[in-house]
Amino acid sequence: MNKLKIMVLDDEPIVCKRLKPALEKQGYEVDTFTQSSDAMEQIKNVEYDVIITDLKMKGIDGMQLLTEAKQRSPKTEVIVITGFATMETAKESFHKGVFDFIAKPFKLSEIQEVVSRAEAKIRGE
């Protein structure tokens, strides 16, 4: 079975630093980005199974990345993580086809569990 390919985008390096080893431990291949422009370039070249993205970032925000990612690859599952959550952003995320919306702070196990659910969906379990 192919390893799931995951992108993590958060402008706070500590979030990427926490998530990468935790997800790799679960057997996933993980690329991390702290600049949304770099992540946007990357999704033009690489098709990810799962994208975990922050919302509020300088330049391109997470909502723009979500829109672009879903347009390019509708089967990519996007998980939004945000430190500045509002009902509007939660609703908008789901309207745009987000797999889950998680407000910070969260436990690593919470993200791991959501990614496992996304994997089950992707693999059609």
Partner: protein, 285 residues
């Protein structure tokens, strides 16, 4: 995010529930509503049980059906442990997008709240308390203070229904957790509040690590276009600040091993300050 609301049948718990609804509306957190019964069999405690059912209705009815992440989906059979080594197949109603549970536990309120928060992996405990200097639950139970003192996660202690226009965060140590910063971010967003960051010093001296952290936090919020006002204060003036300046504010305190407040004040200072504060308090870990 996982939120644990702990309440009883008294009005202060209704205020705390309203804050829980507000938090859940923004964060779409997984939520547990917990009641504590003094009875050995919690189901026999009709007062707390009735209150919890009311809270459940209030919570779920706060959303329109199409906007709610908590609307119950179809029932699904799952194996549920009933005692050690025994599971039973039960039909469980799953939340559509986020978990929502209502629970009753029996025993000492503080102990049961803390146990539930550990078992559930809560990120935030929300509970109310009677207004006034004692910060208690009814029947003179010091549960709120004990929870604030001993919880592993952050605690929002709701004093009364009131607008929050400012968050006053007091920094007294160099180390603060990423989770605590994120909790402040959510509070700023939910209340649309500005942030006052107070760096606490002792006799005019401030540890270099605290000063550095103060600047880093200021930069962090400036980068995120959050209005922040930073100032310094001597720790001996801190009680006066709580008594005189805190009005429509949420007081946010960091609790950590290297806390200057912990060194300056005797044991139990958190409970004392939380009691003195006329408004709601967020204790962060």
């Amino acid at each position: 995010m996982r939120i644990l609301f702990a309440g009883d049948e008294h009005p202060y718990s209704e205020y705390a529930l309203k804050e829980t609804v507000k938090l859940a509306m923004n964060t779409w957190a997984d939520v547990t509503l917990l009641g504590i019964s003094q009875a050995t069999n919690p189901v026999e405690d009709t007062q707390v049980g009735k209150a919890l059912r009311g809270y459940r209705d209030t919570f779920l009815n706060s959303w329109s059906r199409e906007d709610s992440p908590y609307i119950q989906g179809e029932g699904k059979y799952e194996w549920v442990p009933v005692k050690t080594g025994v599971v039973e197949e039960m039909k469980v109603l799953m939340g559509r997008k986020k978990d929502f549970k209502v629970r009753l536990r029996s025993g000492s309120p503080a102990r049961e709240i803390l146990t539930e928060s550990q078992e559930d992996g809560s990120d935030l405990i929300v509970l109310g308390c009677a207004k006034g200097a004692k910060c208690e639950w009814a029947n003179s139970l010091p549960a709120p203070q004990q929870v604030v003192d001993d919880a592993d996660c952050s605690v929002l202690l709701v004093k009364e229904q009131q607008p929050v226009t400012r968050i006053v965060a007091c920094l007294d140590q160099g180390y603060i957790s990423q989770e605590s910063l994120e909790m402040i971010n959510q509070m700023i967003t939910i209340y649309n509040a500005r942030l006052d960051l107070i760096g606490l010093s002792q006799n005019g001296d401030m540890e270099k690590s605290v000063y550095t952290r103060l600047i880093e936090i200021g930069d962090y919020y400036n980068d995120r276009q959050v209005e922040i006002n930073t100032r310094l204060m001597d720790i001996s003036d801190f009680e006066q600040l709580i008594a005189q300046e805190i009005k429509q504010d949420l007081l946010a305190l960091w609790l950590g091993k290297k806390s200057l407040l912990s060194r300056f004040f005797s044991r139990g200072w958190v409970g004392r300050f939380v009691s003195k504060c006329p408004t709601s308090v967020l204790v962060m870990r």
